[in-house]
Symmetry: C2
Subunit: 220 residues, 2 copies
DNA sequence: ACAACAGTCTAACGACTATTAGAATGTTGT
DNA sequence: ACAACATTCTAATAGTCGTTAGACTGTTGT
């Protein structure tokens, strides 16, 4: 009797799990966690063609993790809620915690562990507030506008080289981007260090930051 | 250059997602969140034969979400960490939040929303501490011993009928079991109400409770 | 109205996954 | 050593999923 019903319940949750079982879809989710994006942007950013991206988006939409909105000729997708970004953060956190293969791969990209704890996040927040460090958002500006870490400044990676003068040489610069799998902040730090700045990166993006229960800001 | 690397990273996370994409595996995970269990227990509880359960467990083990340990003739599985239980809680929370189909199915099982919020959890904890409510764990006793809500008392559903005398009639009884998909607490409440007790159920199990950042207890 | 464009829908292929049955492994008790 | 037992490993089949290509839909600008 209750067996059929139980199967039904778990089946429903498994639909969400299925949506999370494809690398491309996860990449799309991470991008959407930075803010609303059109299909072609998602396709070019994930290096797939539009048809495939559209197919993946359909799966995500059917699993109710994302929602679509028509904007003129374009169709813009966004996450169905903040909890979806939290789920993504939770998923990759568990994966990095338990899958050695992932740890190895990550270490090849970014040397050293930049995973944050409750305390390091709070101390960063305090230092950012009083201005003793510069929190630097190197993502494209629209993503910064959608949501960013408290007291963060936006200098997109593409503009960093010619806007270096805006940054102080005496303060520590803490760069972040889309999350632990995003390489933009690592590139930014490499450039900054070469020019004599005190810089480091953190693995958090807005999704990880707010999944940790901390507030984010956005341009109204 | 970085595309191949990115694919590798997301691929690793997707492995975990894949493990979460099958109803049976989710059911197994929920059971393991109650404590270590042998293959045959998992098989009978999920109504599958041992071979299939073993196959699913292998997938879970390969995704590093569970670990196995030989205990005599039996092989016992357990979650690879508390964060795995948290991920399961997060997953079904997002599913119940966004999938209407799941909400409908759940309402057919248990009338009324018994999802807890930060405040209701804290107030329950306070009332349990000062003894103004009885928190009742109706799961099998080994699961209670592995971990249970603070100040909870254990009366397994199977023994409830003949141990009714242990419960007070003047205090509210709050029953819980394995989580929002578990029907044991609903059955318990039905029985208690019929006998004139003031009883209600909550959707939380130990996984949901501790995912909310609250402490659990266990018999040492 | 028509062309250009962004994206979806449909169909089809190969690759992967769930499930089942049968043989094999490791452990316990005699 | 041997039988009983719990579980895994291997092989096979049916069904599902990712990916691709071609036809189709809705919107904009002329």
């Amino acid at each position: 009797m209750s067996r059929a019903l139980k199967d039904l319940l778990y089946e429903q949750v498994a639909r969400v799990g299925k949506a999370l079982s494809s690398p491309k879809r996860l990449e799309i989710l991470e991008l959407l966690a930075q803010g609303e994006k059109t299909v072609d942007v998602l396709a070019t950013e994930t290096a797939t063609d539009i048809k495939l991206a559209s197919a993946h988006l359909r799966v995500l939409k059917e699993s109710r993790l994302v929602e679509a909105r028509r904007d003129g000729r374009f169709i813009a997708y966004r996450l169905a809620g903040d909890d979806v970004a939290g789920l993504w953060a939770n998923l990759h956190s568990v994966a990095t915690e338990h899958r050695v293969e992932l740890q190895v791969a990550l270490n090849r990209v970014v040397a050293g562990p930049e995973r944050l704890t409750e305390e390091t996040r709070l101390s960063l927040l305090a230092k950012a507030k009083k201005g003793s460090v510069v929190v630097l958002d190197v993502r494209p500006e629209p993503e910064y506008q959608a949501a960013h870490l408290p007291h963060a400044r936006s200098i997109p990676l593409a503009e960093l080289k010619r806007r270096l003068a805006e940054l102080p040489k005496d303060k520590e610069i803490v760069a972040y981007c889309r999350g632990p799998f995003c390489l933009m902040s690592a590139e930014a730090v490499a450039l900054l260090k070469k020019r004599g700045y005190k810089a480091r990166k953190i693995g958090d993006g807005v999704a990880e930051w707010s999944a940790a229960g901390l507030p984010t800001e956005s341009e109204t």
